[in-house]
């Protein structure tokens, strides 16, 4: 009985497959629930906007399958396997949290499916061939850009205060790497936890070092706490941070104390203020209007734009891959991977992408601008 069923299934599969498999299938995973949902939801909205923006490549329809991983790496692994083995996707895109993204990347490399990661991947899976690239700007670059800005502003002694976690370490190490004899000197390394009730002691220590400027290695709402304490103690110097601080709640909580802070961020944050010749100007405005059309709300975050860029990278690579293979085949996956890894000067919302074998990211310093918080809104500071 089971044998007959299997035979019938195979027969049906053979007759149905060519008809249904003439299009390109994309498997997209994000975190719509769990602790990564505050950024996972924008990722999902970004991919939906991108799908509306470009539904076909060279006349081939694109089919998009979305799954939720609940911010759980094991669910992300299961989703990736299901998408590849059952849905036979040509490409994976995902996901919102770093651990889940790494888990997905391992599956993609094992099953030999190209993957575009929308969260930072520091280390590629250890496989002979590279199947994974990642869209976001690496943290080291975020810090480098802001360190260069401190130098340009003539800052010498920098006080550092950040989270007592991996993110705090990343920002501190990035700033340390940017130290030089004639340039900036990082004088303090103060840390606090996201749930702390006060950073008075740490700020006293920072102030005791008499810094020209303070670098804030926090993120989101709680990144405002050092700024509030600095204001309370009458600190008059400049403050700097990274894109991790950029969200509406940070601006609300920080209020006057956060005024004037400069952060490095993707150009999409200030799309409408960019000069016309800037690579991201037109595409970012297109992205905003298609996002508005799809969801009836304006986009205020940088995360949805990462999904959008992943889609642009895919569409650009698929155009070239379609010349040599048919979607739904192993050959097409390989061709798509080769095409992605040979992406040249592709302008996106966040960056100009150039991928090459052996590197996870394909962005350079053009992918970041410095913005300053002025009167509660982010202003572009060229």
């Amino acid at each position: 009985m089971r044998k007959t069923l299997a035979l019938v299934a195979v027969a049906v599969g053979i007759t149905v497959a060519p008809a249904a498999r003439a299009d390109i299938t994309i498997g997209f995973v994000t975190s719509l629930s769990g602790n990564g949902s505050s950024i996972g939801i924008p990722y999902g909205r970004g991919i939906n906007a991108a799908y509306e923006y470009k539904k076909s490549v060279n006349g081939e329809t694109v089919r998009l399958i979305q799954l939720d991983d609940g911010s759980d790496p094991s669910a992300a692994t299961r989703n990736a396997r299901k998408l590849v083995e059952e849905e036979k996707v040509d490409l994976l895109i995902g996901t919102a949290t770093a651990p889940s993204t790494i888990a997905m990347a391992a599956v993609a490399s094992e099953l030999k499916v190209p993957m575009i990661a929308v969260s930072p991947i520091v280390k590629l899976p250890d496989t002979p061939e590279q199947w994974v690239v990642s869209v976001p700007q690496p943290a080291s670059l975020l810090v480098k850009i802001i360190a260069d800005r401190m130098k340009r502003d003539g800052m010498k002694n920098i006080g550092y205060i950040g989270f007592s976690d991996a993110w705090g370490d990343l920002v501190y190490n990035g700033a340390k790497a940017a130290e030089s004899a004639d340039g900036i000197k990082i004088q303090t390394n103060e840390r606090y936890a996201r749930t702390d009730t006060s950073v008075t002691a740490q700020i006293l220590k920072v102030m005791a070092a008499r810094p020209d400027a303070v670098l804030d290695g926090g993120s989101g709402t709680q990144g405002a706490l050092p700024l509030l304490s600095l204001a309370e103690r009458g600190f008059k110097g400049n403050t700097y941070g990274t894109v991790a601080l950029v969200n509406p709640d940070f601006v609300n909580v920080g209020g006057k104390a956060a005024e004037g802070i400069q952060v490095s961020a993707g150009p999409v944050i200030v799309a409408e203020q960019l000069p016309d010749e800037h690579f991201a100007k037109k595409i970012a405005l297109d992205f905003r209007s298609v996002y508005q059309k799809t969801h009836n709300i304006p986009t205020t975050d940088g995360f949805s734009a990462y999904s959008f860029d992943a889609w642009l990278i895919f569409a650009n690579a698929a155009e070239r891959a379609l010349k040599s293979a048919k979607p739904g085949t192993i050959e097409f996956r390989a061709a798509l991977r080769d095409a992605i890894l040979s992406t040249k000067e592709l302008p996106g919302v966040h960056a100009v992408y150039n991928f090459k074998q052996g590197a996870a990211t394909g962005v350079d310093e053009r992918s970041l601008v410095v913005v300053r918080l002025t009167g509660g809104t982010w202003k572009y500071v060229p």
Binding site: Y192, R194, D196, T197, S198, Q202, L204, G220, T221, D249
Partner: protein
């Protein structure tokens, strides 16, 4: 470290410690009456801050939904137990306390989001919304196991904390909040600036510990609460209802946690999961006081706050390690210094 810095650190520590003290006093209160180490106390404080912020933003706070769910559950359980013991004539009263009152409070809060009430009204509303939570949780979770061992009650209490944190994420979302300061006063004291908010926190802690001391030593209700703590069976023979004593303790305790939540909200960003560390440090303070003495708990909690402040200055990354490491010598000292009365006597 100069004397100026030491003074600033000490004041910062006292302010933080006073917040812990309020929660610590509530913890001791509930422990002495019901023998439950109520770990979710910090969460109650955090939820108050989040509730107040929602009311400030004219959003209906997630606490409302939480209270409605808990009230329905508690009513069901109460009705079932009344039906089992054949005391259905008490049903109307139970309905009033477990369903009508909490729902009335939620209704008021909903009305408030439609209007624009002044700050004082919002503060009272936030406190009113938060106070039913602990007694309702007590009815649902702790009363069926009221005669269990301290260890069983503690385990359930930890589990309850995790459930509440999950619900907090569901109702309040992942972002933190901060409210407007209650007062913008500040005064100079021996060359150090002290903000009015700090003064408020310290005064609130002093007033509440004083009031509780008076309540327990000089009123009949307070004495009956203490009697319940010493011996449930004995106090029942004397005509005291342990269940009612527990409810009173939970109400008072929630009020304390609520006040501390309102005091924290302007000085720090509060997240749905901020409560745990506040509760834990308050617990450390309470242990210093031996879990039985209110002044002891308050002094212990202020000590934890000051220690934390100086530890952050010396080594900010190791702050919590220092605070919690101190627990061990304190516990050893307490267990050597205090005479053990045999707890858990078979009744």
């Amino acid at each position: 470290m100069t004397s100026d810095i030491a003074a600033i650190l000490a004041i910062d520590g006292i302010a933080t410690g006073a917040i812990y003290a309020l929660v610590a006093i509530g913890t001791v209160l509930i422990f002495t009456v019901t023998r439950v180490v109520f770990i979710p106390f910090g969460d109650i404080a955090a939820f108050t801050a989040l509730t107040l912020a929602a009311l400030d933003a004219k959003r209906f706070p997630g606490t409302g939904a939480l209270v409605v769910v808990l009230a329905c559950l508690a009513t069901l359980i109460e009705m079932a137990s009344l039906a089992r013991s054949g005391e259905l004539r008490l049903a109307p009263r139970a309905l009033l306390f477990y369903l009508v009152l909490p729902l009335a409070v939620v209704g008021c809060a909903w009305l408030a989001t439609r209007m624009d009430p002044p700050l004082a009204v919002r503060l009272v509303l936030a406190l009113m919304l938060i106070t039913p939570i602990s007694p309702l949780l007590d009815r649902i979770v702790f009363r069926p196991i009221a005669d269990g061992t301290v260890l069983l009650l503690l385990t359930v209490s930890v589990a309850l904390h995790f459930a509440l944190v999950g619900l907090g994420l569901l109702f309040f979302g992942p972002e933190g909040v901060r409210t407007e300061p209650l007062t913008s006063l500040s005064m100079e004291f021996a060359g150090v600036l002290i903000s009015g908010q700090t003064m408020l926190i310290v005064i609130a802690a002093l007033v509440f510990s004083g009031l509780l001391y008076l309540f327990f030593d000089f009123t009949l209700v307070g004495k009956s609460l203490r009697a319940t703590a010493v011996n449930r069976t004995g106090s029942r023979l004397m005509g005291i209802r342990p269940a009612r004593a527990g409810t009173i303790a939970y109400l008072l305790g929630s009020l304390m946690a609520g006040v501390s939540g309102i005091l924290i909200a302007p000085v720090n960003t509060v997240f749905y999961d901020s409560g745990f560390l506040i509760g834990l440090k308050a617990f450390v303070g309470a242990i210093v006081g031996g879990m039985t003495s209110y002044p002891g708990a308050a002094i212990g909690a202020v000590g934890v706050g000051i220690l934390e402040s100086f530890a952050s200055f010396e080594s900010s990354a190791l702050k919590d390690v220092i605070v919690f490491s101190l627990l061990i010598p304190i516990l050893i000292w307490r267990s050597l210094a205090s005479l053990h009365s045999e707890e858990e006597i078979e009744e």
